[in-house]
Amino acid sequence: MSTARRGRTSSRKPRPGRVLAIFLAVIVVLYGVVAMVGDWKPRLGLDLQGGTRIALEAKTSSGDVTQEKLDEARDIIDQRVNGSGISEADVTTQGGDQVVIEIPGEKQAGIVDEVGRTAQLRFRLVWATSDNAQQQPENGSGNGSGNDQQLPFEKPSDEQTSSGSDSTSDNGKNRTAPTDGAQSAGAKSDGGDDPGNGESDDPSGDQSSGDQSSGDQSDDGGDDNDDADDSSTDVDWTELSLDQMISAETEGLDALPPDYRPAISDLNDQLSSFQCNDKSLGKVDDVADEPLVTCDPESGETFLLSPSVIPGTDVSDVSAGVPQNQVDWVVSLELGGDGQSTFDQVTDALTDQYNSGNSAGSRFAIVLDGAVLSAPQSEAHITNGQSQISGDFTQDSAQSLANSLKYGALPLTFGVNSVSVEGPSLAGSQLDAGLTAGAVGLLLVILYSLFYYRGLGLVVIASLLVAAATTYALVLLLAASAGFTLTLPGIAGLIVAIGITADSFVVFFERLRDEVREGRSLRVAVERGWRRARMTIVAADSVSFMAALVLYIFAIGVVRGFAFALGLTTLIDVFIVFFFTKPLVALLARTQFFGQGHRFSGLDRKHLGIHDRPVSQMAKRPASASAGGEH
């Protein structure tokens, strides 16, 4: 006691017992939190439980991949995956340009095509609608008021007008208007063509102009909609000019050139049989240059849509908000590039229809990934590309539409980087192997430290076990709070860390022994040795942590788990050695067994090979005197 006091001022007097008690209390609290959070088993990575892991790499058409864009992409892919009925899919971003989808359990390789697609936002014209969400597919065209615009070509198109009001109430959920909010419903009424008179053959002579949809070719090979494929191969929809497409909307589908009629007829059949559910929507093949039969999954309304007239990449800005002096939520949309002039042309023609009462003929649709997001009526001729979509929006629905429109405008495309499908039994044997390796590794280190450090080896063991307990608790907590999953490389990281953790003890113990070698009593040696060891430990662990951090930031794929585990255990190591190992050794130094250098303590003079008279006061310590006399 006296020596210890001499060495230190009273204020800095170490209280190992207290530190130890606090540390153990912290661990108890840690486990208390784990008990409250609830899960005692770590979340296993796909390589350990089986499942599908898809890594997508962002490829930019313009500019760099920013984290913001990547996060947006992550969100939409998340929607896609979870929208396709897969539960528990985990979608994360990684390494600055990766989106990783992890789907535990059953094989889900089929999902690859689904998620790898670019977010395809397109503006299309509404050629026909059929509100058959609640109907049997057989019901077809002849039946019901809902089939407002689903007309055989022979029928006179004035029926469109008659059913127009019908569709407005049923389906015209959204409308567009210029951003200034001025409702120009009346303003254009004079110029309205009579939608009823069938100038059906007029636009056919119009050769396709540069206005043709600039939508990029979509090259994804998703599941094809058989009928659509057959019919669309017959005619070349890319030949259609924007004018033709518009007239097909404003004047009826028979305004299209005669060549297209069989295809249109097929599409009409499809429209009537289209059921609006996740399954059928999942099969929709959204090809820019072809017409599309699809639906709005929210309203259940089905549509026959023209080929894309404006690609989503032309959307330059989207926001949701309540305009001044208004009460309803609107989504403001700004188009740039070619989209602006196309929109000018489209709204010009469609607004005429609206003003003349043909509300069904004045709609266009915004389609994302084959599903209709919104099919507003064009209520104003918009020349500057700035428009608003209004309707029965709540804040949520407006925000959600705005987000979807933004995602569609996202210039990120993805390439499939890797897909791994891990079978459950192989995954199980990987887990077993990892755990076995860990157990064997721990055992070997324990044996070695007992062999070499004898009594102090017990301290190593206790410290390693406490470190293991702390690590386990943190892994559980991180799983619950940050979604940390334990992968095979992660387990490897934890195992490798055993050695690195043990090294701190080695550094401390060797310093301690150095002090004992210089003839100091153990109690003094502990403090002095510790003071000299701790800087080394902190410096060395900082380096380890730095390495783990760099590895984590720059690693791709599951090896991140390794880096994370390594970094985590390095931090834990520092805490253990400061707040557990050192106080424990300080406490033990007070015991007779260690303090007086018992034969098995690992600190006896003979074991240390001290044969000479020690440098300082042997007389003070009878035990060491006898030990010294043994040789």
Partner: protein, 372 residues
Amino acid sequence: MGRISTFGQHLYEGRISFDFVGRRRLWYAISVVILLAAGLGLLTRGLDMGIEFRGGVEFTAKIAPTDANVDAMRDAVADSGVSDAGDPTVTTSGQNAIRIDTKPLSQDEATKVEASLRDAGASDISQNLIGATWGQQVAQKAAIGLFVFLGLVVIFIWAYFREWKMSVSAIVALIHDLVITVGVYAWSGFEVTPATVTGLLTILGYSLYDTVVVFDKVRENTRGFERTHTRTYAESANLAVNQTLVRSINTSIMALLPVGALLVVGVAALGSGPLKDLSLALFVGMAAGTYSSIFIATPLAVQLKESEPAVREQAKKVERRRARDAVSAAASDEDAKVGSTTAPTRAVTTSGAAKRAQPSRAPRSKRGRRPK
């Protein structure tokens, strides 16, 4: 066991001393030979890049890895009707699995091949489809990570030791370890996978960790060296390496034991995969890391340091003092041998060494007493 400790005591006192610093030319030569061999392996044999770097599909089928089954799997791939999948690499993997590597396939094709394998009797098939650019990315990121880390290391060591010469030495030792590990991969023909790359990057941390611990002791022993006349800078540094030798050995053993367990279990139970790749790289790298901090980093740091006038000045002082002592003591004719290069061994192995060591330890004890 006791003997190792006794050994430690002797090392600590300087009674046994390995001349790590003085014989640096020998260690450099050994390392140069090893590095040349590694380079030669890299040039002539190259690295066997794993499927992650080539792109392709790797199937792991759970089926007894007999010759007949291997052939059956090969035939199954041929029968799958996917032309790109022809000529797959079929190897056994562990005790109960067969690994089949094909060229890059589309998801549909991979599914077809998988179905064909299933028909041929394989169960629980894992599929790993890797795009051709995946490996490039891994390599690219690893390279960036490497440079970022090296930059940080230089800064860190400089900040901690206040000595750019130590930074340089540590970096040289790091690169030394990396090259050796890569060389081992080249010669052994083990596959290089992203897990291997991770292992390599981890070695950086480990190698440096080891170097920091040794340098720490070097710094402690050489603090205030200008004022001592008993040991040259090089001798003090050498004593530091000797004093941390037991620690280095223990640390290496304790670090290598778990990694070895990982390697053995990984190979025995799984045959191949991230466990093996990671632990193999770590095993080689850690061993090299321990070697290099003792034999390369410290001698190099000393060598760089010896170019400083102060260090040379002090070395001369020590020499002069020794010569004077020798003359006055007229002890023996051995004095003639006290040359500048052979001095360290002689000096610390003489019986007076333990006593002479006292002055250099004095600053430490002074530090210890300071709080009083």
